[in-house]
């Protein structure tokens, strides 16, 4: 059975970028604690939230993602001292630009989740998935050519 078939009932596609030191570990803790969140959320591990290039987010939307979330260490707790501040600044800019271009603000999110916050990880993902579900499919930036090529 292929994934496309199950997509009939709307299943959003959510890409989560998690920093290796805090949020990825937070996601691990959510797993160890068996705190469920929708399978729509797929995690990409990055060393630090500042590694997330705004272009990755554009790419995700272009490829049909319905929501993108970036999770990093709490301000002041960054493993690399200041990476999350860069991420915060970059994403604030990017999100307001995306909003201006018609990608709803709610489709993008930055969250600080520490390695101890398994509960926060799962509630955040549940909330976010719910929001995206309500917003429906992202049609605005989806590039159909990309889809075609891949098929």
């Amino acid at each position: 059975m292929s994934i496309e078939e199950t997509k009939k009932e709307y299943k959003p596609l959510i890409v989560a970028f998690c920093c290796n030191w805090c949020s990825y570990a937070g996601a691990d803790l959510a797993g160890t604690s068996r705190l469920s969140y929708p399978a729509d959320v797929k995690i990409i591990r990055v060393p630090c939230s500042c590694r997330v290039n705004p272009l990755f987010i554009l790419r995700a939307f272009q490829r049909g993602a319905d929501g993108v979330i970036i999770a990093g260490c709490h301000p002041g707790d960054c493993h690399y001292t200041s990476g999350n501040y860069y991420a915060r600044r970059r994403m604030t800019l990017l999100f307001s630009m995306l909003d201006y271009l018609g990608i709803e603000r709610a489709r993008t999110r930055v969250e600080w989740i520490s390695a101890a916050e398994g509960v926060k990880f799962s509630t955040t993902m549940n909330e976010f998935a719910k929001t995206i579900h309500e917003l429906g499919e992202n049609k605005k930036l989806e590039d159909l050519r990309c889809k075609e090529l891949l098929k």
Binding site: Y24, D28, P47, R51, V52, R59, D77, Y80, Y86, L150
Partner: protein
């Protein structure tokens, strides 16, 4: 390039942890159909010896160039699988993990959903692996010598501990003697043992230890290099006294006719000669000439010290000397000073000599101080009958005049001063104005209560608003919040517990070391809880108040902790580096400096390089960024900021992450 890959996929059951919710066979089946995958299998426990040997055998049998393992979190077993791959001759960085346990089987209940997601995660790992490059962790040598900047109790303790482990240590101290602030103190809380009695033996130990070299009256000129390989330049300022010849007899000091300089050691409460030894137990016990005060340097005459020195140690011609040395690790122990009180006019510190800071009071109470330990007023030398102590002067102050933080030590030393006064002079009335009394620490609160209960010190919850001169008295106007009253006390002396701040020199030193510093000039630690004695800059360690306000026991503990970290570093012959570091494509780099500005480690520098170009010029010189791989920690901040796309991060390259995004959104 991806077509050259031969990839093996291993799906772990993790007993029933994964297999109960994910159809592992289906995952292996789906992956077998992916391009480049030549082998896919599932097994009960991939991390077990049986699982690992399967990986090793498959690598050999199918000539695998990369391995995807669908299992638990990479934070759990990435190292295990990398090692297994390496033992079969595969580069350990050609292993990717799809986390199908923590991020999939454990959180999803629906078997179909979980299996579908597991396949996506496996494909994502595969997409990344297709773009992986074999990486080799570089190595660098470690110079087995440590540098300690600052010769106070923190620096001395760090140096002694490092020397104890058998490594060479150099202490650089800017004043003419080691000892620092602790040498100025009278008694130490909460045990009241005398500071000199416990500090001077340590100073002597440091001087006599053959592994320790002291550079007093010296300053840091520059530091370059990286962990294990720092190069430091130390400016040894001219003392104008030959250290090797001087016997420390002190005759020069007796003969010196210039006696007007403020005595820094006594906080300016008395004067000293132009050629001087800061205090009797100074180490080294060699005087120094203050050229701004010395009559010989000002007029070319005098020279009495030279005439009287039987050791012929006085050398007016002596010049500054620059010493260049290699170090493996650097400890910063630059200490503190009390803040300037000129912005606190209400206490009349600058107008009235009987309003003193606690450090000045410390000198007054010290038997070796300007008053020989007699408690007298600096203005008229009379015995005071009433002393008012004011706490939190400039601490916890967000108005901009003081410091926003709590200086931590004031509550305890004020209790100590109050207690000592009452013990030696029971006739003296002692009042302490406090906002909060903060005494966390072993035997600290008991100590403070003793001041109140045993020594009758009058603690007033409130703050002083104004100190003014009335005849030979000081009128102290303050509030008593418990009584809801304003009170006026006619005091003979007022002692201000001034906030402490990092020595301003630390800014210069932090810049040299690219160690980060906070808004209050305290050095930042690598992690506030788990790495409190390391700076984010590898190879730089923090000791004492330069990191945050601390009392003596805490300073000593931190100094030893920093030393332990240094020893751990110096004990290694080679440093293995993280190969996942940034690197710049020199063909794309335009030398704009954007990456340098965001790098928290100062790992990026620039060089001019000659490139071949088409056309008649044939070559051109361009400025390009170069990453020092030993310093880079691999956060990737530079990769995003780079406008030309030249900067990339090995192991997490832009292409790899894009491929992951694509695989997820497929």
């Amino acid at each position: 390039m991806s077509s050259l890959h031969k990839i093996g996929v291993f799906v772990c059951w993790c007993g029933s942890n994964i297999a109960a919710t994910v159809d592992v066979a289906a995952v292996a089946e789906a992956m077998r159909a992916e391009p480049n995958v030549v082998y896919a299998t599932d097994y009960q426990y991939m991390c077990s010896e049986g699982g690992q040997s399967r990986i090793r055998e498959a690598i050999k049998e199918y000539g695998l160039t990369g391995v995807v393992i669908c299992s638990c979190s990479p934070r759990m077993h990435e190292a295990t699988f990398r090692k297994a791959a390496q033992s079969a001759g595969l580069n350990p960085y050609m292993v990717e993990i799809a986390n199908i346990r923590e991020h999939c089987s454990w959180i999803h209940k629906d078997r179909m959903d979980a299996t579908a997601k597991a396949i996506v995660l496996a494909r994502t790992a595969l997409a990344k692996l297709n773009l992986n490059q074999p990486l080799t962790a570089g190595e660098s040598n470690v110079v087995k010598r440590a540098l300690v900047i600052g010769g106070g109790i923190a620096g001395i303790q760090s140096a002694l501990d490092i020397a104890e482990a058998g490594y060479e240590v150099d202490i650089v101290e800017k004043t003419p003697t080691i000892g620092g602030r602790m040498a100025q103190l009278d008694k130490t809380f909460p045990t009241l043992d005398c500071a000199a009695c416990i500090l001077t033996p340590k100073m002597v130990d440091a001087a006599q230890n053959e592994k320790i070299t002291l550079y007093t009256y010296s300053e840091m000129e520059s530091v370059s290099g990286f962990v294990g390989n720092f190069t430091a330049k130390i400016r040894k300022k001219a003392r104008h006294v030959n250290e090797d010849l001087c016997t420390g007899c002190g005759l020069c000091q007796e003969k010196c006719p210039s006696r007007k300089a403020k005595n820094e050691f006594n906080m300016g409460l008395n004067t000293r000669t132009a050629i001087y030894i800061p205090f009797a137990q100074a180490i080294p016990n060699v005087p120094v000439i203050d050229t701004e005060q010395c009559i010989h340097f000002k007029t070319g005459k005098c020279g009495l010290c030279q005439m009287n020195c039987s050791a012929k140690a006085i050398d007016f011609e002596q010049q500054d000397e620059i010493i260049e040395r290699q170090y493996g690790a650097i400890v910063v122990a630059t200490g503190f000073r009390p803040i300037s009180l000129e912005r606190f006019d209400e206490f009349g510190y600058s107008q009235n000599p009987d309003v003193v800071t606690s450090l000045e009071f410390e000198r007054i109470m010290n038997a070796a101080g300007p008053t020989k330990g007699q408690l007298v007023r600096p203005s008229d030398g009379k015995h005071p009958h009433c002393i008012v102590f004011v706490q939190c002067v400039g601490s916890r102050d967000t108005s901009g005049c003081g410091k926003p933080y709590c200086s931590k030590i004031c509550c305890m030393y004020t209790a100590k001063h109050a207690m000592l006064v009452r013990e030696k002079y029971p006739d003296v009335e002692v009042h302490v104005f406090y906002i909060d009394v903060r005494t966390p620490g072993k035997n600290f609160d008991e100590f403070y209560r003793r001041a109140v209960e045993q020594y009758d010190v009058d603690y007033i919850k409130g703050m002083v608003g104004k100190v003014s001169s009335h005849g030979d008295k000081l009128q102290v106007q303050g509030s008593d919040l418990i009584a809801d009253k304003q009170i006026i006390i006619d005091a003979d002396m007022v002692v201000l517990a001034a906030a402490i701040e990092p020595d301003p020199e630390v800014r210069k030193i932090a810049t040299m070391l690219t160690a980060s510093i906070d808004t209050n000039n305290f050095l930042t630690e690598a992690h506030p809880k788990l790495r409190p004695v390391e700076s984010p800059t590898a190879g730089v360690f923090l000791s004492g108040v330069c990191q945050g306000p601390k009392d003596i026991p805490e300073t000593v503990a931190q100094a030893s902790a920093a030393a332990a970290k240094v020893i751990g570093l110096l004990a290694k012959d080679k440093l293995k580096r993280n190969p996942c570091v940034a690197h710049s494509d020199e063909m794309l780099c335009n030398g704009c400096s954007a990456c340098e500005k965001v790098c928290p480690y100062g790992a990026i520098s620039y060089m001019d390089k000659e490139f071949r170009v088409p056309g008649p010029k044939r070559t051109e010189i361009r400025r390009i960024a170069v990453v020092n791989e030993a310093v880079c920690q691999g956060c990737g901040a530079c990769t995003v900021t780079c406008p030309s796309g030249a900067m990339d991060l090995k192991g997490f390259s832009t292409k790899q992450i894009m491929a992951e995004v694509d695989a997820i959104c497929r």
